[in-house]
């Protein structure tokens, strides 16, 4: 299968750079699979899972938290606030962060606090889900 270069970039670092056969990413409109020679495409990405199939056919799963995906003939890039490989996810920490988010949601007084707590909750749940997908 033909491959194409993919970059996953976060503000903290270039998270992944290399050739892949396929990317499956969750956009606001649903899961999208991207193969080589995909049309020009840009979509917003909420917190969700990202699967890539590497050149040797092996699959890796990562959790990304919000951003965008951009496909052009020159490059395919995923811009994310944060990204973690499923095997690197600290499940205990994610669970604690989920509990913390739930508590904050309960105690939130303003709409903004509620929104932030919900965003945090979505990220935590996404981490846990991605981590379990790896098994």
């Amino acid at each position: 299968m033909s491959t194409f270069p993919l970059q996953i970039i976060t503000p903290e670092k270039v998270f992944f750079e290399g050739n892949v056969q396929r990317v499956i990413i969750r956009t606001t409109e649903g899961d999208v699979g991207i193969l080589a020679k995909h049309e020009k495409y840009v979509a917003a990405v909420p917190a969700g899972p990202l699967r890539i199939t590497l050149e040797d056919g092996s699959e890796r799963i990562a959790a990304v938290s919000g951003g965008a995906v951009k496909v052009s003939p020159e490059q395919t890039a995923v811009l994310a606030n944060a990204a973690e490989w499923a095997e690197d996810i600290d499940v205990d920490w994610a669970k604690r962060s989920e509990a913390d988010a739930l508590r904050r949601k309960e105690n939130s007084k303003t709409e903004q606090e509620l929104e932030r707590a919900e965003a945090k909750l979505r990220r935590a749940v996404n981490r846990l889900r991605v981590s379990s997908m790896n098994k």
């Binding site: 503000p11 049309e39 840009v42 917003a44 811009l79 929104e115």
Partner: protein, 288 residues
Amino acid sequence: MAASNMKAIKRRIKSVESTMQITKAMELVSSSKLRKAKERADQAVPFFNLLYQTMSEIASEAVGFHSAYTELRETGAALLVVMAGDRGLAGGFNINVFRRADARIKELEAQGREVILMTVGKKASEHFAKSGNRILGTFDNIGETVTTYTALAMAQHITGLFDQGHLALVEVFFTNMVSPLTQEARQMQVIPVPNLERNPGVQSLTNYEPSPEAVFDSLIPQYLAGVLYCTIVDTYASEQAARRMAMENATDNAQEMIDDLSLKYNRARQASITQELTEIVSGANAQE
């Protein structure tokens, strides 16, 4: 008299030496912090460039593109995010950025806009606590530990207010590290998003989902968070660079002072020896 003079000089040398030890240590600490901060600042660049490029493309390619974030509103306050250090002892680092921000506040208020502030760094919150402007938030001691989540929380707070129509303008005041030897206080307009090229004639072949506007608007918090993250890290790196330089100068000055005092000390020592010799010789002469 000479002996007491010598003692006083010796004491001063000691005190200058201990000051020099401190400035030298601070210089070394700042250099190592600077190295780390610079790495972080460099790593943020590819993300931000690509994000900005994507947004420019949307604004320029999409037909009939329109977003609240690209046009200046008539009403609403101006939010200035001012970033400075958490500590002093860094030369003109803090003052320079305050001077810029103070001038801009005056200018905006003369135009009849309300000015709201958000401060990053203890020195900034101290400086603007006295200004009488409304302070939206203070973020002290975050330069070294700032994460994208901190920046995103700040960004969402800002976009939340913008969406409710409270804000018309967002500007960031930060210090850009041009090189480890020069830092420059800068101001940057963030909202309305500046410098987006527009060529409405070009039909885009890109498929935007769900729509160009929706993608653009959903990228705004990321963009704002990206700007905040980059500028916070840049300011922090500049603070360290400025402190390293200030401390290097202080160390050099201390060294110069010690050299000067040592010379004085040796002169006083020689004077006292000469005096003793004269006394002995004249005593011996008197006995003959």
